[in-house]
């Protein structure tokens, strides 16, 4: 109820929720929207209408046109939605688990354990994120899993920091002292009383990070270490469009469709997560509501 009332008052947030919902529906109904053909080994292999390099404009056969190598752009955008959800949610879920565990252990044990863990966080923070993720993906090979592992390895630190500082803050609050006075065990205190309250900032951060992790994953594909050739992945399709920015003389926007559709997909996906994250922060953090 509170959520609905908030959305009614904030049309921009409502737009974000609706776009996100649309993407969820596209991902669920991908087999109906863009049915895979019988000869495809995997539905994520984009079908191609020949091997000609030059992209073809939208037509009745390919409503978004075809990109370099005759890959169907509509198919790639639809199934790329599933790829985006898999990578975004996968990376964020694993990062939250790892970060929360490390942050909680650091805050709970304190002393040397905390020092060592937080110095490890510092070291990972000093790593150039995109370059390190590129190296790890290049080592692990192409595909969804290498991307997920690489982005997780270099992206869990902020959760550890937030969870630690939240626990340290909440630990000193009156209701915790009260629970301790009742004789609650340490484990019970952490899991039942402290973590649930520490999770709100993590939730906001995770929502915003889902969009930016999809950005990073697409960037990896764009820089040439992401998914396999022809995989239904927005970054891959944007990378193809890079070779077709300049049209023939007198027709500068000749290949606009190679960039417009996959580009709009990434943009709207990230935008919706950011809007939802923004709304969550407003709702959960009273300091931001005016």
């Amino acid at each position: 109820m509170k959520v609905l009332r908030y959305l009614a008052r904030n049309p921009v947030s409502l737009v974000g929720v609706l776009i996100l919902l649309a993407f969820v529906l596209i991902a669920i109904f991908a087999p109906l929207l863009a049915p895979p053909q019988s000869f495809q080994l995997s539905p994520y292999d984009t079908p191609r209408a020949g091997f000609l390099a030059t992209p073809m404009p939208p037509s009745s056969d390919a409503i978004f046109g075809t990109t370099q190598g005759q890959y169907d752009i509509f198919y790639g955008v639809v199934w790329g939605t599933r790829t985006a959800f898999k990578i975004g949610l996968g990376v964020v879920a694993i990062s939250v688990l790892v970060g929360t565990a490390i942050g909680a252990v650091a805050a709970y044990y304190g002393g040397l354990v905390e020092d060592v863990l937080m110095r490890i966080v510092d070291v990972f923070m000093a790593v150039p994120f995109l370059i390190a993720a590129m190296v790890l993906t290049a080592l692990l090979g192409k595909g969804i899993w290498p991307i997920t592992i690489a982005l997780t390895t270099f992206g869990w630190m902020s959760y550890a920091r937030i969870v630690r500082s939240e626990i340290l803050r909440i630990r000193e609050m009156d209701y915790i002292h009260a629970a301790r006075a009742y004789g609650a065990s340490d484990l019970r205190l952490i899991v039942l009383h402290i973590l649930p309250n520490a999770m709100f900032p993590v939730l906001v951060l995770a929502t915003m990070a889902t969009g930016s992790m999809v950005l990073s994953a697409s960037a990896l594909s764009f820089l040439g270490v992401g998914t396999e050739e022809g995989y239904a992945d927005w970054g891959q399709f944007i990378a193809y469009s890079r070779n077709w920015i300049v049209g023939q003389p007198g027709n500068p926007f000749q290949f606009w469709y190679t960039l417009a559709f996959p580009g709009a997909a990434v943009f709207l996906f990230v935008l919706s997560w950011n809007l939802v994250g923004d709304a969550l922060r407003d709702m959960l953090d009273p300091r931001h509501s005016h």
Binding site: V12, R119, I120, D122, V123, M125, A126, V127, P128, L130, I131, A132, M134, V135, L136, A138, L139, G211, L215, S218, A219, F222, L223, G224, V225, I238, S241, R242, I245, V246, G247, P252, F253, W256, L259, G263, V266, F267, V270, L271, N274, L275, D278, H288, H290
Partner: protein, 345 residues
């Protein structure tokens, strides 16, 4: 104060050591034969068959235990030798140093408008909270924040290069490149714009600006969003303070209260964010440089990472960490000057 700076700087070697261990461990996950490629002066070198490959692995000690190989590498680094980059066909340190001015030039040119714009827009949004300027600025920033750099960059190329032919990719046109590399043109700094002014060559100056324009606009737009948001939030916090109410109650003009009293203090959190963002940008703007084919550190790092050119990746990683730690230290040291309430202990 000095004590604090020294203690922070003491952390640097520890961070660098751990970082180098980590990247080195990644490198060691390759087989000795793969790593041998870094030592081969030409592809023919490896065609000598299994026997010669084995002999070379022996010769360079690529089968030695981890700590011996790491020790050898770190020994080289400490004596100023970062190794050979296959991608650049140059020593790593030479490559990094020759590309650094290009990145610095780009980053500084993008950072200044970015900061000014963020302060202007953020304070405006805070002053006109929930009125139309606020709404427009919020939408502008959230769009910029969600815009993938590579999509925005490609759009810039589509409009300003393909359609209008104003801002070509690269760092210089062919004719300007010929002038710059000729003996008559003195390379004082390595930054094209400054060198062109110092040499009094206005044609080259204009040409380098034309090449810088698109990446600068791209970087400004995608980076201005986060800073504007911080400025807006901080402005709102400040406007609620008691001293602002006092100033208003005294009957001071609204503009004076907003710009003199409130905005100055609201700048503080922005200084922190700006410092961190500048540090990350100086570490190489990977995607922007790659899209616009702008030969700087970011493009170089991306190439070396994709080629698994480990000596270069290690060198770049060390450079990045140093920039990050030093920049954060500078921000920390400047902070008490901006805000006397903060004392560094």
């Amino acid at each position: 104060m000095l004590n604090y700076a020294l203690r922070r700087l003491m952390m640097l070697p520890i961070v660098l050591f751990a970082l180098s261990l980590m990247i080195f461990a990644l490198q060691m996950s390759l087989s000795p034969t793969q790593r041998l490629a870094a030592y081969a002066p030409s592809p023919d070198f490896l065609k000598g068959g299994q026997e010669s490959i084995r002999r070379m692995i022996e010769q360079y000690g690529l089968n030695d235990p981890f700590y011996i190989q790491y020790g050898r590498w770190i020994g080289g680094v400490l004596s100023g030798n970062l190794g050979w980059s296959e991608t650049a066909r140059q020593p790593v340190s030479t490559a990094l140093m020759s590309l650094f001015p290009a990145t610095l030039e780009l980053v500084v040119l993008a950072f200044i408008p970015c900061l000014l714009l963020a302060v202007f827009l953020g304070s405006r949004a805070g002053i006109y909270l929930n009125r139309w300027p606020d709404h427009v600025i919020r939408i502008f920033t959230i769009l910029g924040w969600s815009f993938p750099v590579y999509v925005f960059g490609l759009l810039m190329l589509l409009i300003f290069y393909s359609a209008l032919d104003w801002f070509p990719p690269g760092r210089l046109s062919q004719w300007a490149q010929t002038i710059v590399t000729s003996g008559d043109f003195v390379r004082y700094t390595g930054a094209n714009t400054i060198d062109a002014i110092l040499n009094g060559n206005w044609a080259v100056f204009i040409d380098s600006l034309r090449h810088l324009a698109a990446p600068v606009i791209t970087l400004t737009y995608v980076n201005v969003a986060s800073m504007t948001r911080v400025m807006r939030t901080s402005m709102l916090e400040t406007l609620r303070q008691d001293y602002v109410r006092t100033a208003r109650a005294k009957g001071l003009p609204r503009r004076v209260v907003e710009l003199k009293h409130a905005r100055r203090n609201a700048l503080l959190p922005v200084a922190t964010i700006a410092g961190m963002e500048l540090a990350v940008m100086m570490g190489g703007v990977v995607i922007t440089e790659t899209i616009f084919d702008y030969a700087g550190l970011g493009q170089f790092a991306a190439k070396t990472a994709a080629n698994l050119d480990f000596p270069a990746v290690l060198g770049f990683g060390l450079y990045f960490a140093v920039v990050l730690v030093v920049m954060n230290l500078i921000v920390d040291l400047i902070y008490p000057l901006l805000d006397p309430r903060v004392k560094t202990q």
